[in-house]
């Protein structure tokens, strides 16, 4: 049993001076701390500077994570986006209000010194339809005039599919200059996280 100590003249006129006359750790007093009861599964929350109440946890959470990896390469001279074949990842949100955080990293190579430039984005569809590009261009990697550049390309996107259907994501790439560029060849990774905010 826990006890607190009440100092000299700590009790006056049937009142206890908790702020200056009581030391030690206070046990939960009979009657609680300003709340009569809590709700199972909820948390104790300050509802004012000196009041407490039972409340739901409304902080953001990661609900599920999906990952796909590839060491393959896709080479293209296409001036329209084409699928990066190595990665094809789907997630089924538990709630239509969930956000999907999309992370992607790979390697991009402009293959030559003749001013080639590529672009990357992400294609998404829901339940096999309604496909879109999440952005007209996520990045324009590996571009440097008169220099061959091979280096990391990565992007992050927060999607709001507003669906509990199967949401499918595929990286796409294209050549802005109409000659061959490539993506991949080393470790490529896409990660999807369903989050509440």
């Amino acid at each position: 049993m826990a006890f607190a100590t009440i100092g000299t003249r700590g009790i006056q006129a049937q009142s206890v001076d908790l702020t200056s006359k009581v030391t030690g750790t206070l046990p939960v007093p009979n009657g609680g701390l300003g709340i009569a009861s809590g709700t199972t599964g909820q948390f104790l929350k300050f509802t004012g500077t000196e009041t407490l109440a039972s409340a739901a946890d409304n902080a953001g959470k990661i609900l599920q994570i999906k990952q796909d990896d590839s060491t393959g390469t896709t080479n293209t001279s296409s001036s329209s986006y084409t699928h990066f074949s190595g990665i094809d990842l789907s997630i089924t949100p538990t709630s239509a209000s969930s956000k999907i955080l999309v992370f992607f990293t790979s390697n991009f190579d402009n293959e030559s010194t003749d001013n080639r430039q590529g672009a990357v984005s992400c294609w998404r569809e829901i339940d096999g339809a309604n496909n879109i590009l999440l952005s007209s261009t996520m990045a324009q990697p590996a571009y440097s005039p008169n220099t061959r550049v091979s280096g990391t390309v990565s992007w992050i996107f927060m999607d709001a599919p507003s669906s509990t259907g199967s949401v499918r994501y595929r990286p796409v790439l294209k050549s802005n200059t109409g000659n061959q560029v490539n993506m991949g060849g080393f470790q490529s990774t896409m990660i999807l996280m369903e989050a509440t905010i």
């Binding site: 390469t73 001279s77 001036s79 329209s80 084409t82 293959e111 496909n131 590009l133 109409g178 061959q180």
Partner: protein, 71 residues
């Protein structure tokens, strides 16, 4: 000269400006050639419409190999 460079050079010799996509190694065999995704158009969201049947009369595997062998 790498196989990828030879392939690109040979393709552009046969027909300049051809738009294609292939995965992994350069398509130097007929089997790989038949896996090339040739662009034939673009859909409403900006994705290439592709076919693995080469739509260019100027290009086939025999012609491509002949050009690559010159390099």
């Amino acid at each position: 000269m790498t196989d990828k460079t030879k392939f690109e050079t040979a393709i552009n010799t046969l027909k300049a400006g051809v738009e294609y996509t292939y995965d992994n190694d350069a398509p130097i065999t007929e089997e790989l050639f038949n896996k090339i995704r040739w662009k034939t158009g673009e859909d409403s969201v900006g994705l290439a419409i592709e076919t693995t049947i080469c739509p260019h009369s100027e290009i086939n595997y025999i012609k491509l190999k002949a050009e690559m062998d010159k390099l």
